[in-house]
């Protein structure tokens, strides 16, 4: 009950008039950085594959944020749809036909359909209850991938297959041996996905989602079918999560049940929170920080889990608004 009151008190996200130009400039900077990343990443100690990984995981975190930051619904089980996309893509290449577009298509269909089927069961629930059910349903696919070892190779994961080059008819893009080619393929998918999400958020549909986030009861009184909108937002979110998952499998030429596990879901949430849930680019920034940190810590200490755990705790205690949330707050005051 008191949760509803809280939401009513929270200040609505009113666009500040003077910020419009800044926002465009920020968009331009983000795209410029992403387009040139393979060239400046090695200069500062990174590598191209790290850039691809950030891009792919960031897409998943942005997909989650569509639900978390813009609809105000907490999913703690998005790894399931991410992982289904990954398994769909991996199994297509390994068992059916070696084609990257087909693999992507199958992965996305599998993840989205699973999300659409599970959606009606949970969209009636709210708050903690919703979060708990997403966690529990998320684990279903983990167990299936783990148990069904004749097809998925269980805990060892599905390996021994390689992402096929993309054949355009007039030219082939060798994404397997050329790291740059894969990066730009992933960037193209990322760009289209981000553009579609931004378009949806700016449409009346997206505004309706914001209304539900700000005050569900009021939205209901206005005649908005709230459950139906949450379901749609959920499916859209699952769709983009499975796009990211399919790319993730192709990136690694490998998939294992850990892609589906609850700790992956938790990582997506912390990335969105770390960057700033109320900002479109927040999850991208959060992902970049998280992945670089994880990469660094896990190569320097065996007890990386403690550090990641501590990182979670510190963010919640001292940094709950995330990087962009802090910046925006500073500039507003």
């Amino acid at each position: 009950m008191d949760r509803v009151e809280e939401k009513a008190v929270a200040a609505p996200a009113v666009p500040v008039p003077g910020l419009r130009v800044d926002k465009r400039a920020a968009d331009a900077v983000v795209w410029l950085l992403l387009l040139t990343a393979p060239f400046w990443l090695p200069l500062i100690g990174g590598y191209v594959q790290l850039g691809s990984r950030i891009l792919v995981i960031a897409l998943a975190a942005m997909a989650l944020n569509f639900l978390l930051g813009y609809t105000g619904v907490l999913s703690f089980g998005h790894a399931a749809y991410f992982g289904l996309g990954a398994y769909g893509a991996a199994m297509t290449v390994a068992y059916i036909y070696p084609s990257t577009p087909l693999a992507m298509l199958v992965g996305v269909v599998v993840g989205t359909v699973a999300g659409a089927v599970i959606g009606p069961l949970i969209t009636r629930l709210r708050g903690v209850y919703f979060a708990m059910c997403t966690i529990a349903f998320g684990q279903v696919f983990y167990y299936i991938a783990f148990q069904w070892s004749s097809v998925t190779h269980g805990d060892d994961g599905l390996s021994g297959w390689y992402r096929p080059p993309i054949d355009f008819g007039f030219a082939t893009l060798d994404i397997l041996h050329d790291g740059y080619a894969f990066y730009y393929m992933a960037l193209a998918v990322f760009a289209v996905s981000a553009a579609v999400m931004a378009f949806l958020l700016r449409s009346p549909f997206g505004r309706t989602l914001l209304a539900i986030r700000e005050n569900e009861r009021r939205a209901r009184f206005l005649g908005i079918p709230v459950d139906c909108h949450i379901w749609m937002s959920w499916v859209i979110s699952c769709f983009f999560a499975s796009v990211a998952g399919a790319l993730y499998a192709l990136l690694n030429n490998f998939v294992d049940p850990r892609a589906l596990r609850w700790d992956m879901s938790g990582n997506f949430v912390i990335m969105a929170v770390l960057g700033g849930m109320r900002n479109f680019w927040g999850p991208l920034i959060g992902t970049a920080i998280f992945i670089v940190l994880q990469d660094y810590i896990s190569s320097h200490t065996e007890n990386w889990m403690s550090f990641i755990g501590l990182f979670f705790v510190l963010i919640v205690l001292f940094f709950p608004r995330g990087v962009l949330g802090m910046i925006r707050r500073r500039s507003a005051s």
Binding site: D2, E6, L68, L74, F76, L121, I122, R124, L125, R126, G127, V128, Y129, A131, M132, C133, I135, A136, F137, Q139, V140, Y143, I144, Q147, W148, W262, D263, G266, V269, I270, V273, N303, M305, S306, I308, G309, L310, F311, F312, V313, I315, V316, L317, P320
Partner: protein, 288 residues
């Protein structure tokens, strides 16, 4: 066949009792504080490892009494330092913090006691079967069942007959009014968290006799505990108990006919409950 079925039903009941013991602790904390304690499995592991360390000094029975108390004490400290800061905030932050805590506890136990499975001695007279016909009725299993039943009974008696229990129940319904009536809500939530963690510690001491002792011991029990709460109904402790036993028995029965689906059956059960009765079997309407 009938003996096999009986064996698995009994086994399911034991597993279900564990799920229920874990889930009751989770439920207590969730009802009063609104925090989903992801680290509950970690506290279970702490309970088990403390018992392992204590046994050489105080013996099996001493460890059985001391270890859950020590675990609860650690729980009280963590509540004071960390969990307390989450009250009244978006449930998102509670999940993230306890999630990080679960990571830290798992890694910490691995650091202190090592990653490999440790041997755990239970008294000899407890590990022998009680009768040749029902070979599966080892003393330890019966003992566990009795102990879990006693713990659950004690919990319900505390809740229904003591002042603390009354306040916890009242706080679950309306914490603000309880606070206005002069109850120190901070202390109440602290004690309630400790009580929940005590149950996790107790489950830990008992579980190691069955599952072996390793840092990830809580992992296999945390999801079923969530499902017990969902199936039984959020906000209802008898519901949580029922949910735990129900999915335990369902898992046991499925093992007889279709072993590889024994994990899946509880998710199916959850899906059916959510479809037919979204508030759970004994949950109140309109609470969530």
């Amino acid at each position: 066949m009938s003996q096999l079925l009986l064996f698995n039903v009994f086994n399911g009941l034991i597993i279900g009792a564990f799920y229920a013991l874990m889930a009751l602790g989770l439920s207590l904390i969730l009802n009063l504080s609104g925090v989903i304690n992801f680290a509950h499995g970690g506290f279970l592991a702490i309970g088990g490892y403390l018992a392992y360390t204590l046994i050489p000094f105080v013996g099996f029975w001493g460890a059985l009494i001391l270890s859950p108390l020590l675990t609860a004490f650690i729980g009280l400290l963590i509540e004071r330092v960390l969990i307390r800061r989450l009250y009244g905030r978006d449930p998102l932050y509670g999940l993230l913090l306890t999630f990080g805590l679960a990571f830290m506890i798992e890694d910490g136990t691995r650091y202190i006691w090592g990653a490999q499975s440790l041997p755990y001695q239970i008294p000899g007279w407890l590990s022998s079967p009680l009768s040749t016909e029902f070979f599966f009725l080892t003393g330890y299993r019966v003992f566990m069942m009795v102990l879990v039943a006693a713990a659950v009974l004690a919990l319900f008696l505390i809740l229904s007959h003591t002042r603390l229990g009354l306040r916890i129940r009242a706080g679950t319904l309306d914490l603000e009014t309880v606070s206005t009536l002069g109850v120190n809500v901070r202390v109440l939530r602290n004690l309630n968290f400790g009580l929940g963690i005590y149950l996790a510690g107790l489950a830990g001491v008992l579980a190691v006799g069955m599952l072996g002792l390793q840092p990830t011991i809580g992992d296999s029990l945390i999801m079923p505990s969530f499902i017990s709460i969902i199936v039984g109904g959020l906000g209802s402790l008898p519901g949580t108990l029922l949910g735990g036993l129900l999915i335990g028995v369902a898992t046991g029965m499925t093992t007889v006919f279709f072993p590889s689906a024994s994990e899946a059956v509880m998710y199916v059960l959850m899906a059916v409950v959510l479809l037919v009765r979204p508030r759970g079997l004994l949950g109140e309407e309109g609470r969530f």
